[in-house]
């Protein structure tokens, strides 16, 4: 806390409470040193009145010799000189001496004390062994002197007399005696303090209460309370001392405020006197006695009082080690004083207060620097920076006042003012005379010359700025910087000014404070204009011209600045390029047509909406948009890309960041995500490899957000260098007048070459000035495509049904080809799908926008092989549509026409029928070959027809009689009428097929079937093979007779004749009438040959027995699939049948019924048995066999697909394939099933009654 080096010694309270000493001075002097040392060693607890907290206090004392003059007179309120304790010292041990001299002396002392009303006294009797020894003879009984003194003086106050034993010896007794003495002294001192201070405080309070009385004076009261403060300070109770000053401060402040409210106190008059001296605070003296005297005399000015009060508070705060409170209070004080002078309407020379504040700020800072080290200061910048900034501010206004800031320097008037101001400073105080950097010297120097002022001002400004930066108060730092910039502007140093202004501007822009932005920008514009930085100036002017915070006049002014420059004639290399954002904003872009995709050569218009921010209408010589062209590699399918566009393809809205000064809220959120779907397709087959979503504007979203410049402020701080790239292609519009607000500009876009055109930049030229929008974002593009003519044929309605006339739609996209008169489509005719001539066939022509532009009747000429359709003339990129009626003839079964060549040499493809997974209907792909005028190649198109019917046939037998059943199933979704159902046999005329069907017309609903039955009758012999044709007419329900179309179904039946009949009989066990379950029965199977063997059969199957009789071998098998029967013994066997009619063979088999009831007969199968020799004999040459087989295999697969009649092998358990295949296999004996109809089973589906084994079965019946 002590001050350093050459600085004046700061007052530490030298005063100590006064204690007087009377009596034996020699004795006291010998003890003084120990006493003075030991008294403060131990703290004492000081209990306070008025509920104040007790304090531990180290007591010191100033021991002085007792004199009467020291005792305060009545009414003297001085506390500093007040003796708090009176001590009488004696070492008398001689009764005589006591009685003769000491007692009298004491009496005098007591009397003088009593007359002054002082009751704080103590008598100390020092006892030494020496004195005792010396006066051995006179020694009275123990402690007689002390007792005497006590009885003489200490009336009931025995503690007022203390014995100190052997004070100079180092014995425990002496120490004990010292301690008790010191304790006593301390206690008495404190008691005295409490009593005297309490009395003083009471008096003071009484005085204060009188403050409303007319004669009351603040200055008087001030002195009284300060006395108290002094005593507290003396007692090192700085806190209490400070409280006294703070109370005085508050009291005074209240008076000033009351004065402001109209309540005037008389004594306040002296404080309202004009300010004559403004020498600032003085904090280097402990007590500024000059000012104190002034106050005491009631002559102090307000500044004097405040200065004195603050200097005292400052001293105490520094004692309390609270330097930062000093700075804070200082700032409050300075502000407050300025306000108070204003409130009291004290007349002050202009600038005088600035001087006072400036000096005071620096004084406080010096004082603080004096008691803190550098590190502490640096760490507490936040406390001092306010003072620095305030001082800077004041110096600046002083400089302005004294003409030190202008470029020309001070005028004589300014100099006079300076002299007046300096006069008010008075002489420098002696404390700082030797200090080179005293505030006084600084101010004097700063006001003395322009250069010195600049130096001091810059020093202060930079110091303040540095501190603000250091503590992170960047805004404050920038505000100081801005003020500095204004200074530089005045001085004509525009370059430096601009740097500071730009920095400040950056912060205002980034935080969206529009008014400061505008103001700062205006200042920058001024700088730039004076600096001759044309481009920057114009850019700033453009910003200001569009700034709504300015008046229209100002905006017009800045706009005019641009237009004036633009109007200057100059060489073209001198063009100035500015960012367009400040001049006009692109808000919307629209394509006409909206698809933004046109064929080459078509007209595409681009409409821009520009919001002009200028206050007046501006004539633009040219608006140009540069285009980037990409050759489209996508081929002819230009439209596919266009389809990926977003919701409103023709219009692009440009989301604007707010105008540069607006709140940056929208930008804080960042740009919205722009997502696109991507599909990665394999180049070879166009199948999808992968698909995903990509963000198109990652470069905007993924960037750091902590960077200082928000995205939409490109134009404000330093205009970015925008360059107009010279694109090969431009959209241009000349001579546009942009009115304030929204303007629409229409471009006609080039659409020569197919490809993608991307709009890159926008540029508006006004004379010498170009406004450039460097990137149009989001990117805008349009497409120009070129398309090959395309012909498609599609069904008018799905599905196309075969066998009925169906409408198909031809669509011709002309692409780049113009259909001329006389152009025709040549359709190669096919038998399976004739084109039905129609009387009126109209073709509709529509333009790319799908609007109908024309209709014309087509002329269709059919020749034998070719149908020619002459097309109406159609312009390119139009669509031509017409419909034709075609009929697909249903293939009738196994009919297989040979391949033939079409007229144009194409191989005719047999329409192949196949089953389609999506529909139960059988599909036929019908190929069409069309010759088009624009190509030398034929266009091949396929139409898929569906056969609405599924047909099945079967041969039914009853003994020798034969029936043919045809089942027609309607698998389509349409209901049909079926008429004229017929079955014919092609080869055998003698054969009669008698229809068992009654109705002429039959309804065949969707998903239903119709069964038709014919009995086969023959005269001589039943042919083994029948070629049958089923035919019927059908039409969709509810159509007239003419709509009936034929339907044919061909099939072949082989081995129709019944060769064998099988009869089975079940015989109950002997003696029983019925079979019983669990008992063996006999099964008698009787196989009878019905006919003579036919030719083929002989060759193939028969075997000549050794006896010459022709037999054929049959295999029978009894099988019961339903487990009703158990076959006991042999279940199958071989039978040799003679090949004569009515040859019969009987077989007996034992079977056992397993259940009771009507059981169906077990199944009896009869199979052909082919011995191995026959196969071996037939087997041909292996090589040719393979060849044949492969051929036949091929044929077979074809047949299996196409024919419904391949039911020959059905029902065979043993056969693994057809006969052909078996022959090829290993030469083993094998079985072959008979064709259906060759064997007739009489007992098929017969049943026999089987009784239970015994009758004692119990049947449980539960009825519930």
């Amino acid at each position: 806390m002590e001050c350093q080096e050459e600085k004046p010694i700061i007052y530490t309270m030298e005063n100590k409470p006064i204690v007087t000493c009377a009596g034996d001075q020699g004795l006291f002097t010998s003890l003084y040193t120990s006493l003075a040392q030991q008294l403060p060693r131990e703290p004492m607890e000081w209990r306070r009145t008025y509920g104040r907290a007790p304090k531990m206090i180290h007591l010191e004392a100033n021991f002085v010799q007792f004199k009467e003059e020291l005792l305060p007179k009545e009414g003297n309120k001085a506390l500093l000189t007040f003796p708090f304790l009176h001590i009488y010292w004696t070492d008398c041990c001689d009764t005589e001496a006591y009685k003769s001299t000491v007692k009298e002396d004491m009496m005098r002392w007591q009397n003088s004390l009593r007359t002054h009303g002082s009751a704080d006294w103590v008598i100390i009797v020092v006892e030494t062994n020496d004195t005792k020894k010396k006066n051995k003879t006179n020694i009275l009984p123990r402690s007689s002197i002390v007792d005497k003194i006590r009885s003489d003086f200490c009336n009931k106050q025995n503690d007022r007399c203390v014995v100190l034993s052997d004070p100079l010896k180092d014995s425990s007794r002496s120490q004990e005696s010292w301690n008790s003495l010191l304790l006593k002294l301390r206690t008495l001192l404190l008691m005295s303090f409490t009593k005297n201070l309490g009395r003083f405080e009471d008096d003071m309070r009484t005085l204060r209460e009188k403050r409303t009385q007319p004669g009351w004076s603040f200055c008087e009261y001030f002195m009284v309370q300060e006395e108290l403060a002094f005593v507290f300070e003396m007692l090192q109770q700085f806190e209490d001392a400070l409280v006294q000053y703070d109370e005085l401060d508050a009291l005074f402040t209240q008076y000033v405020l009351n004065f402001g409210a109209g309540d005037t106190a008389n004594w306040l008059g002296s404080f309202c006197a004009p300010v004559r001296s403004w020498s600032g605070l003085l904090l280097r003296r402990p007590i500024d006695m000059e000012k104190r005297d002034g106050i005491q005399r009631g002559e102090a000015s307000l500044l004097d009082l405040r200065s004195y009060l603050f200097s005292r508070q400052c001293t105490l705060l520094i004692f309390l080690q609270r330097p930062w409170e000093v700075t804070q209070r200082a700032l409050e004080l300075l502000h407050n004083c300025v306000q108070e002078l204003r409130l009291l309407e004290v007349s002050v020379l202009e600038g005088a207060l600035d001087c006072w504040v400036f000096l005071s700020c620096l004084e406080v800072l010096h004082r603080i620097e004096g008691c803190c080290d550098q590190a502490q200061l640096a760490a507490n910048c936040s406390h001092t920076v306010g003072l620095w900034a305030y001082a800077t501010d004041k110096l600046k206004s002083l400089g302005e006042l004294c003409g030190l800031v202008s470029e020309k320097g001070p005028t004589s008037e300014d100099l006079n003012r300076t002299v007046d101001l300096l006069a008010g400073l008075g002489d420098e105080r002696p404390e700082t005379v030797n200090s080179l950097q005293s505030p006084y010297k600084k101010l004097k120097e700063a006001l003395s010359s322009v250069e010195a002022f600049e130096r001091h001002y810059l020093e202060l400004s930079h110091a303040a700025m540095e501190m603000y930066r250091a503590i992170g108060r960047l805004r404050s730092a920038r505000l100081v910087g801005k003020s500095l910039a204004e200074f530089y502007m005045r001085k004509g140093d525009r370059e430096r000014a601009e740097t500071f202004l730009q920095e400040a501007l950056k912060s205002y822009v980034s935080e969206g404070w529009s008014l400061p932005v505008t103001h700062t920008r205006k200042q920058i514009a001024e700088c730039q204009k004076l600096l001759g930085r044309t481009e920057d100036y114009l850019q700033t002017s453009a910003l200001l011209a569009g700034d709504v915070n300015l008046t229209t006049e100002e905006r017009k002014h800045f706009c005019q600045e641009i237009l004036t420059f633009a109007g200057k004639s100059g060489d073209h290399s001198n063009k100035v390029t500015l960012s367009m954002g400040v001049f006009a904003q692109l808000t919307r872009l629209q394509f006409h047509p909206a698809t933004a995709s046109v064929h080459s050569g078509a007209i595409l218009q681009v409409e821009l909406t520009l919001r002009c921010l200028m206050p007046v209408s501006v004539h633009i010589q040219q608006v140009a948009a540069s285009i980037h062209f990409d050759v489209d590699h996508g081929g002819t399918h230009g439209r596919s890309k266009g389809a990926q566009r977003q919701t409103n393809p023709g219009t692009v809205e440009f989301i604007q960041g707010n105008s540069s000064a607006g709140p940056p809220s929208s930008s804080a959120a960042g740009p919205s995500l722009e997502l696109d779907e991507i599909q990665d397709r394999s180049p070879s087959d166009n199948s999808l490899n992968s698909t995903g979503v990509v963000c198109k504007n990652t470069h905007l979203i993924m960037r750091r957000h902590d960077s200082n410049s928000p995205p939409d402020t490109p134009n404000c701080v330093s205009p970015p260098t925008v360059a107009m790239k010279e694109g090969a292609q431009m959209l241009k519009v000349q001579d546009v007048k942009l009115e304030p607000g929204n303007n629409s500009i229409i471009f006609t876009a080039p659409s020569g070459q197919p490809g993608t055109y991307t709009l890159r930049q926008l540029c508006a030229t006004v004379g010498q000035v170009q406004f450039v929008l460097p990137h149009i974002y989001p990117s805008v593009q349009y497409e120009v495509y070129s398309q090959e003519p395309q012909l498609t044929v599609e069904p008018l309605s799905e599905p196309l049904l075969a066998g009925l006339p169906q409408m198909v739609k031809f669509t011709l996209l002309t692409g780049h080809y113009a259909v001329k008169k006389g152009d025709a489509l040549q359709l190669s005719n096919t038998d399976t799908m004739p084109i039905l001539p129609s009387t009126s066939c109209t073709a509709r022509t529509s333009n790319p926008a799908a609007e109908l532009v024309g209709e014309s009747v087509l002329s269709i000429q059919s020749s034998d092989k070719v149908t020619s359709i002459s097309l109406p003339p159609t312009p390119p990129y139009h669509t031509l549509e017409f419909q034709l009626e075609v009929l697909c003839i249903i293939p009738s079964g196994s009919d297989r026409p040979a391949n033939e060549r079409l007229t144009n040499g194409e191989v005719r493809h047999r329409p192949r029928s196949y089953s389609h997974p999506d529909t139960p209907m059988t599909a036929i792909d019908q190929r069409m070959s069309i010759d088009c005028p624009w190509s030398i190649y034929s266009t091949l198109l396929a139409l898929t027809f569906y056969i609405p019917f599924k047909t099945k046939h079967s041969l039914l037998s009853a003994g020798n009689r034969k029936y043919i059943q045809v089942c027609v199933q309607n698998v389509s979704d349409v209901n049909f009428t079926l008429a004229e159902v017929k079955l014919t046999e092609k080869q055998h005329a003698s054969l009669e097929l008698q229809s068992l069907n009654t109705k002429e017309q039959q309804l065949l609903c969707s998903k239903h079937s119709v069964f038709c039955l014919w009995e086969v009758r023959w005269k001589d012999d039943l042919p083994s093979c029948l070629q049958c044709v089923f035919s019927a007419n059908f039409s969709p329900l509810n159509q007239d007779v003419s709509a009936f179309k034929p339907f044919h179904y061909q099939f072949q039946l082989e081995r129709v004749t019944t060769l064998y009949s099988v009869r089975a009989e079940i015989l109950p066990p002997a003696g029983e009438q019925h079979c019983r379950s669990g008992f063996l029965c006999g099964l008698e199977v009787c196989i009878t040959r019905l006919t003579e063997p036919a030719e083929g059969e002989m060759a193939e199957e028969s075997k000549t027995d050794t006896d010459g009789l022709k037999t054929t071998k049959l295999m029978y098998e009894v099988a019961d699939s339903s487990s009703n029967w158990a076959v006991c013994g042999k279940s199958s066997g071989m039978v040799s049948m003679p090949m004569t009619a009515n040859a019969t063979h009987k077989v007996q088999i034992e079977v056992m019924p397993l259940f009771a009831g009507h059981l169906p007969f077990p199944k009896i199968k009869v199979l052909k048995y082919l011995p191995h020799t026959a196969a071996v004999a037939i087997q041909p040459d292996p090589d040719s066999c393979v060849e044949n087989d492969s051929l036949s295999l091929l044929d077979k697969t074809l047949d299996d697909q196409g024919d419904t009649a391949s039911i020959r092998s059905r029902g065979s358990v043993h056969s693994v394939g057809s006969g052909d295949q078996q022959q090829k296999g290993v030469a083993m004996p094998r079985l072959e099933p008979f064709s259906p109809g060759q064997v007739f089973n009489h007992s098929h589906a017969r049943q026999v009654l089987v009784l239970p084994a015994t009758d004692d079965h119990i049947m449980e019946v539960n009825a519930t």
């Binding site: 502000h335 805004r475 505000l479 969206g512 400061p516 940056p664 804080a668």
Partner: protein, 139 residues
């Protein structure tokens, strides 16, 4: 009473700022903007101590010769700043507090308006009314 009242967004751009029409509006903008330095300082100090987080009133931000600047911060870091003329000595801390409370309530009402887009500048007659009431010259 107050000579300038400002509402400042979390991102430090002004949501609302109004000053008495007789005085230089620009000056108040600068003053309020600069006061954000102290607001930030105080907020971060509160954050560190973690003590009384419910205390939204920041007290006197800084005095100047002519004005006293008071601050208040909502839980969502929206700042209110009230500038009072230094010569107006009748205003006590409690009155400033109640002004802030009133302002906060009205601000909450503005935010509750479903048509108000948070982050936009405040354009509300009710809020205007409250602010006008605080700026009425009493002396």
């Amino acid at each position: 009473m107050a000579v300038c009242i400002a509402v400042i967004a979390k991102e430090n751009y002004p949501l609302y700022i109004r000053s008495v029409p007789t005085q230089n509006e620009l000056k108040f903008h600068y003053t309020v903007h600069t006061s954000l330095d102290v607001v930030e300082e105080k907020i971060s100090a509160v954050g560190k101590s973690l003590g009384d987080q419910r205390e939204l009133y920041l007290g006197l931000l800084y005095p100047t010769e002519d004005y006293k600047v008071y601050g208040y911060v909502t839980n969502s870091k929206v700042k209110f700043v009230i500038v009072v003329d230094s010569s107006n000595t009748s205003l006590r801390d409690n009155e400033i507090r109640s002004m802030f409370r009133k302002l906060h309530n009205s601000f909450t009402d503005v935010m509750c308006n479903p048509f108000h887009n948070p982050g936009d500048t405040i354009q509300s007659k009710a809020f205007d009314g409250i602010v006008s009431g605080m700026m009425v010259q009493t002396g």
